[in-house]
Point group: C2
Chain length 207, copies 2
């Protein structure tokens, strides 16, 4: 299995590295980072730079496509090379996936028309502009398109897909290997359980 994770300027690091770490643990699976060209790509906070290991043209038909989100999504929507790669790779891939606002790029590639999909809670409603049916769930699968909610949700998505692709036992072993037994210090990670006013404060941190 080959997993290709798209990188573009001002992506959010955990969106990409959560699924990467899950998939990279599996024997026989390879994960690469693709971009316009191989080389450095810097994240939204400006201090994390990941190396893209190959260009889009080097990886036309991965088994799984992962598109992270981040503030850079806005400009990336106009990046034809990226959007065209998602569209082309998405025709061949077993699953085309996104984390956070990465779902907007799947939408721009025409993959969300009439499909149930999710995104970061702050932008979920805007998915309808791509013909998608916005769904407020952590991981949404509609056929071969799988979208995850904001940032950290990519870890849950990757483990879930791994279970389907390689069996529950392998996915469980990876979950234990990364000691994913989460104990968040607060109960406020979703707008459904956040106290009044916190969503506005959270959005101000993102903007």
């Amino acid at each position: 299995m080959h997993v290709a994770i798209a990188l573009y300027p001002r992506f959010t690091a955990l969106d990409a590295v959560g699924p990467y770490t899950v998939f990279a643990f599996v024997p026989g699976w390879t994960v690469t980072f693709v971009a316009a060209s191989a080389g450095p790509v810097t994240d939204d906070a400006g201090n994390l730079t990941l190396q893209a290991t190959e260009a889009y043209g080097d990886r036309p038909a991965p088994d799984i496509v992962v598109v992270p989100g981040g503030p850079g999504t806005a400009e990336a929507l106009a990046d034809r090379a990226l959007v065209d790669w998602i569209a082309t790779a998405g025709r061949h891939a077993r699953w085309t996936t996104s984390v956070c606002s990465g779902s907007f790029l799947l939408g721009a590639a025409g993959l969300l028309e009439g499909r149930r999909a999710t995104s970061h809670w702050g932008w979920l409603d805007q998915l309808a502009a791509f013909g998608a049916i916005p769904v407020s769930e952590r991981v949404v699968r509609d056929g071969d398109v799988v979208t995850a909610a904001g940032v950290s949700a990519g870890i849950d998505m990757a483990l879930s897909l791994l279970g389907q692709a390689a069996g529950d036992r392998t996915a469980q072993a990876v979950q234990l290997a990364i000691e994913y037994d989460p104990q968040p210090p607060y109960r406020c990670g979703s707008p459904k359980n956040a106290p009044d006013g916190l969503p506005e404060t959270a959005l101000s941190l993102i903007r």
Copy 2:
């Protein structure tokens, strides 16, 4: 606040990028990656390369030190420049922290003598060799030394420290910004709740 995350060859990506993403969201906080020299450092799976933004000497006194774990810890224990930096920076920092087997590097720097500390469940007992008192908890704080369990536990640790440094409201806003409302597909992320035989399978993935 300045957070410095140490990188060394064959670190585990999520150990570093989990805390990075949490801290980088906070206005006025800066997170940098330090290594023997500024430049690329490749992870344990071999396909993720992060840029160290500065050398140890450039950052002698960060406010928070984060040391990730990974298979590379074994060789890193003999890296005097890294261990000396942890020891020196640890004398000045408000908190010196680790994720996963990164706690062994804190031990090599002499910071765990007589202290309660944790690590990845697979290697927890070995912390005693550094004079530490091994504790099977997700995040363990003993004075200014804070250690987290395996890989994904760094996210919980970072949010917890952020709450202490910047207040609960800011940490809650970050938790909501990264939509950290985890829904793991399985209940097996700790050996305490894993089915029989799974720890052995998980360890075989790591080795």
